[in-house]
């Protein structure tokens, strides 16, 4: 059986070149026409099965949100393929994407910006149901909307209000209700709790997990918060500079991170409780710019173990034990 979502060698580049005259640069006595390309996502492959939660982690600018936006075709991918239930949607236009939107829904990070301020809550929630074109009467829409509102912990009295009358946590609940209204098979959650206070964050995370168990959909959960990812996901993928550097079951990775970057990331995470039982690794420096990606390994500039091969050759994501994959030459050498 095909995977619910399969992403192959996904590539996303953005041309951020300035205007024509600014692009002309004189170099070695010649006029050159220079392009600035941001290499946001560079050949990322993964799959998600039914009922599974895949967590995508990484620091800001590593391309994790771009992956999400490309999957739902908010951006057209520059390379690679996206398959939903075995169906290749890479080339689909707006019209053809409509049925796919019923399968994949998104919960966005900022609950203040992702809801239309001019619509009432009931309209916000029922809009996707009307949009996908299923024959449904107005009373039925309303009934379904009310049921959803109740399910996410809001009351009937909230249906006629506008988004600005709600707090951040409540708005995120509205966003969740909207996403679930078309009974999607995959929900992409892009940093859904990072704008919320700790106590509200716990409420939303619990709600999201309960809903998943109840409706049986899958999550692509994008976050920078490692404790959240540990809590919620079955498998995780670690991204760095547009590359996927390590994937595997959450528990395995937290117990035994293989890639040096994963180790550094996990050792950097602050914790109230005991620290992780891993060999800590402190790294220096910062994420380099995505305008020019290095020829070799993306992590070479900060990796304490980098050797010749890391600078010359880009490591591929390969599996060395079942279920786990890493892109690192060091692991070949060992």
């Amino acid at each position: 059986m095909s995977h619910l979502l399969e992403v192959c060698e996904l590539e996303q580049r953005f041309d951020v070149s300035p205007g024509f005259f600014d692009r002309l640069k004189i170099k070695d006595g010649r006029i050159r026409y220079q392009k600035n390309i941001v290499h946001a996502v560079n050949g990322v492959s993964f799959h998600i099965d039914r009922g599974e939660v895949l967590g995508l982690v990484g620091e800001s600018g590593c391309g994790k949100s771009t992956v999400a936006k490309t999957i739902i075709k908010l951006y057209d991918p520059t390379g690679g393929r996206i398959k939903v239930n075995g169906e290749d949607i890479t080339e689909y236009n707006y019209q053809k994407m409509v049925p796919v939107r019923k399968i994949i829904q998104v919960i966005f990070q900022d609950p203040y910006a992702s809801l239309n301020p001019r619509l009432k809550v009931m309209d916000i929630i029922t809009e996707p149901m009307a949009f996908i074109g299923a024959p449904i009467s107005k009373t039925e829409l309303r009934e379904k909307g009310m049921a959803l509102l109740k399910r996410v912990g809001l009351g009937e009295e909230h249906a006629g209000r506008y988004p600005h009358q709600f707090s951040g946590g409540q708005r995120q609940r509205i966003g969740i209700a909207r996403a679930l209204s078309v009974e999607p098979e995959l929900v992409i959650a892009d940093e859904p709790v990072s704008a919320l206070d700790v106590s509200i964050q716990a409420q939303i995370l619990n709600l999201m997990m309960d809903l998943k168990d109840e409706f049986g959909f899958s999550y692509l959960f994008i976050t920078h918060d490692l404790s959240v990812v540990r809590h919620i996901s079955d498998r995780i993928g670690v991204m760095y500079l547009g590359f996927l550097v390590e994937t595997g079951p959450t528990e395995d990775i937290f117990l035994r991170p293989n890639h040096p970057y994963t180790r550094a990331l996990l050792s950097a995470a602050p914790s109230v409780y005991e620290k992780l039982h891993i060999d800590p690794l402190a790294i220096t420096g910062e994420v380099p710019t995505a305008l020019e990606i290095p020829a070799g390994c993306s992590f070479q500039s900060r990796c304490p173990f980098a050797f010749d091969r890391c600078i010359q050759q880009r490591p591929r994501l390969v599996s060395r034990e079942p279920g786990r994959m890493e892109a690192c030459h060091l692991l070949d050498a060992q």
Binding site: E59, V198, S199, A202, S227, F254, I283, E286
Partner: protein, 325 residues
């Protein structure tokens, strides 16, 4: 008064808006010794930043310090006029803000911004100042500091800018550094670098620090003492161990339970129900009563005072919880 640096007694900072009086800080008491790191935690709107601004004397109209004392080395800061306060601010007490992108002036070089503090608060000449700038930048881990002095803020990344801001904050050898969410805008690996740096520098210079943040994990790794605030009041204070391992207030317990454990998987998080009440319509009793699992009749009608339950560990709760995490 041996090595006590700051002593705050009954601090009340109110904002008089058209909609009514906002009691952002409503009776806060705590003290801070020299060289000590104090964490102030709470959710947004609990008044933790206003405490920091009150100490710095940066409360603008419609805000006002209504009553209370902020004793700094025995001097009551709110009594000082603006001229005297300026001698304290930036010299004795400095501040690190949250957003490294906006707290540096984009029109001046790093050197100019660093030297500003020295020009105002020391008698160094140009050469000495430059030497000190290089020394400071080197101290905060900026490579080739001499070549970066003439750079503008936009030429630095977020983490680097925060390092520069830390360098500026330490330029005058302050006695107290107030850091308001210093790493919230930064990535995890950069955050851990900056936190380690701050801890090292504060210990080396024997500077006291007030770390204001919403992140309990950061506080638990950095501080000696912790204050937990809720709706403008302190609900619990004590040593780091008191708060993290032996907390007694239901709110602290709830906050700790809300954070997913990094080292072990759990099925569900212990959430606190409901949300922070509107600060203008606080309940008459304990502000946390509507959300509290252990609430009793008395909590709804009477407001609990912050009382010491063991030496150094105080909680504002009639029925402190016994449960261990």
């Amino acid at each position: 008064m041996n090595n006590e640096l700051v002593h705050i007694r009954g601090l009340k900072t109110y904002f008089h808006t058209f909609a009514g009086v906002i009691k952002a800080v409503d009776g806060v008491d705590f003290s801070l010794d020299q060289g000590e790191i104090l964490g102030v935690v709470g959710e947004s709107g609990c008044g933790k930043s206003v405490v920091g601004f009150s100490i710095m004397g940066l409360i603008d109209a419609p805000g006002r310090i209504e009553s209370g004392e902020i004793l700094f080395n025995g001097v009551n800061l709110p009594d000082l006029d603006e001229r005297d306060m300026r001698k304290v601010r930036g010299k004795e007490i400095t501040m690190i803000f949250q957003d490294p992108m906006t707290s540096l002036n984009p029109l001046y070089t790093i050197q100019a911004q660093m030297e500003e503090v020295m020009k105002l608060h020391s008698t160094m000449n140009a050469e000495e100042r430059k030497k000190r700038c290089i020394e400071l930048l080197d101290d905060v881990g900026i490579s080739q500091p001499a070549s970066r002095l003439k750079n503008y803020p936009h030429q630095f990344s977020g983490g680097m800018r925060q390092r520069v801001i830390i360098a500026i904050a330490l330029a005058s050898n302050p006695k107290l550094v107030i850091a308001d969410e210093p790493t919230t805008a930064l990535d995890v690996t950069i955050q851990s670098q900056i936190l380690k740096l701050m801890k090292r520098l504060v210990r080396e210079h024997r500077t006291a620090m007030m770390l204001i943040t919403h992140d309990l994990a950061v506080v638990s790794e950095m501080t000696d003492k912790i204050i937990v605030m809720y709706c403008g009041r302190i609900v619990e204070k004590g040593t780091r161990d008191d708060i993290i391992n032996r907390c007694r207030h239901p709110y602290t317990l709830g906050l700790l339970g809300s954070i997913p454990n990094l080292a072990a998987r759990q099925k569900r998080l212990n959430q606190i129900p409901g949300m922070v009440p509107n600060i203008m319509q606080l309940p008459s009793g304990c502000a946390f009563a509507p959300r509290c699992d252990y609430v009793q009749e008395k909590c709804r009608s009477h407001r609990p005072e912050l009382l010491e339950i063991e030496p150094g560990h105080a909680t504002a709760c009639y029925y402190p919880v016994e449960r261990q995490l």
